[in-house]
Subunit: 224 residues, 2 copies
DNA sequence: ATAATACTCGAACGCCTGTTCTGTGTCAAG
DNA sequence: CTTGACACAGAACAGGCGTTCGAGTATTAT
């Protein structure tokens, strides 16, 4: 009954156009013209570009200011400017396992997410597969992280000494954020607050590193 | 010798054009045309707009892609996209007074500053006269703020109970970040970490509120 | 006063750009 | 096979838009 040409919603060309607009805008700070889109996407006719642009507008991926040159803008979670979008996968709390990114967490799930300015991002892990978690409860206080804070993590299964990691201690059924140190007899999980004592783990105890902490953001609007 | 028409660097019209471009871009996600600038800035001729645009380009406030419609972009500290630029006025540490914004801190001082996504901003204090300070030393640990953290503040001389404020205790020659509570016999400055004891102040002791904490950002790249 | 400089206007030129129309080839349903 | 929706190309049109030029008006220096 229903005919499917290439894929259901977005064809390869739709995606290519969308990507080009985003990269062009990022570089030039203004959208491309129809003809420029055509050239860079291998479309020889302006009418075809217009054809796709109309579809993208119908699907809600794009907004157009008709009659205005370069009058288009990407909608939805395509951050313009120099910022990064990080999906908030869930909450992190002491007694619960850590949600980690699934394979297809980059899909069009317009789930909850936050935007972070590129210029704030440490090192060059600019927006690989970063993800964010909202801290629930006050169990991370010894990591100097409060209830309601947002932690941005980079997925990882292991870590170097001195890195702050999110770990799941299955033996203790506990999630925690600590500085990671491997020692001869096991592991040491050091709180950020030097006045607090580290957790010492024997090699036999399970320790699952879920990610490295890249950034912590605390919005202080808990007053009224 | 030197002739000064209106002001030295930027005339009123230059500023008006700059502001219009910024607001137009923020709303439409693409730059305005020369004619649009003319209309909204009270300039009847496109050549005059072009005239000012050339000057702005020469002064480095603008970049132009000649021959390309709407081919202009603001340079310097004019964040595109939906983000906010907050100037970093200095450091905050226990033994030093708190730098606060001067009257003309919005001028073209291309000093150090950070960008924060609009969507991260609490409440509607979107970028009034916010400013940021870099925390130096570990004296703010009881506010769950670590060495190297960036705190974003809103200027204030007083506060409501329960708000986190940056205060300067001149009697003790001390700067600190605490939750503020006014009590019958004085003030109570409560650390964020509930396991730590508050500072009790008599009414006679000087307490200068310098700002309210709006946000805390911690970049965790202290590993290599 | 005179000249120089800064600023403003209006109009015209021509490329840039979005729009529209006609035509072609493909593929699946009837 | 025929039909029709779909994907695409090319050309032509009209208006958008940056550019340029000639000219007029202030303001300032000499």
């Amino acid at each position: 009954m229903m005919m499917v040409r290439k894929s259901k919603g977005l064809g390869e060309r739709h995606q290519k156009i969308l990507d080009f607009i985003a990269s062009y805008q990022r570089e030039h700070k203004h959208p491309p013209s129809i003809r420029e889109i055509g050239i860079h996407c291998g479309i020889s006719s302006t009418s075809v570009v217009n054809y796709y642009l109309d579809q993208l507008e119908k699907n809600g991926h794009l907004e157009r200011d008709r009659k205005i040159s370069r009058g288009m803008r990407l909608t939805g979670n395509t951050p313009l400017g120099d910022m990064f979008r990080v999906p908030v996968l869930g909450v992190i709390q002491a007694g619960e396992p850590i949600p980690i990114p699934s394979s297809d967490f980059n899909t069009f799930t317009a789930e909850d997410s936050i935007e972070v300015a590129m210029s704030l991002m440490p090192t060059k892990e600019k927006g690989k597969d970063l993800f964010a978690l909202k801290v629930q409860g006050e169990s991370m206080i010894d990591a100097m992280i409060n209830d309601g804070d947002i932690v941005i993590l980079k997925p990882a299964q292991d870590a170097h000494n001195g890195e702050m990691v999110a770990v799941w201690l299955s033996d203790r059924n506990e999630t925690t954020l600590k500085y990671y140190f491997k020692e001869k007899d096991g592991y040491r999980l050091q709180p950020a607050n030097p006045t607090m004592k580290p957790i010492m783990l024997k090699k036999t105890e399970a320790l699952e590193i879920k990610g490295k902490v890249v950034m912590v953001i605390r919005k202080v609007d808990r007053y009224n």
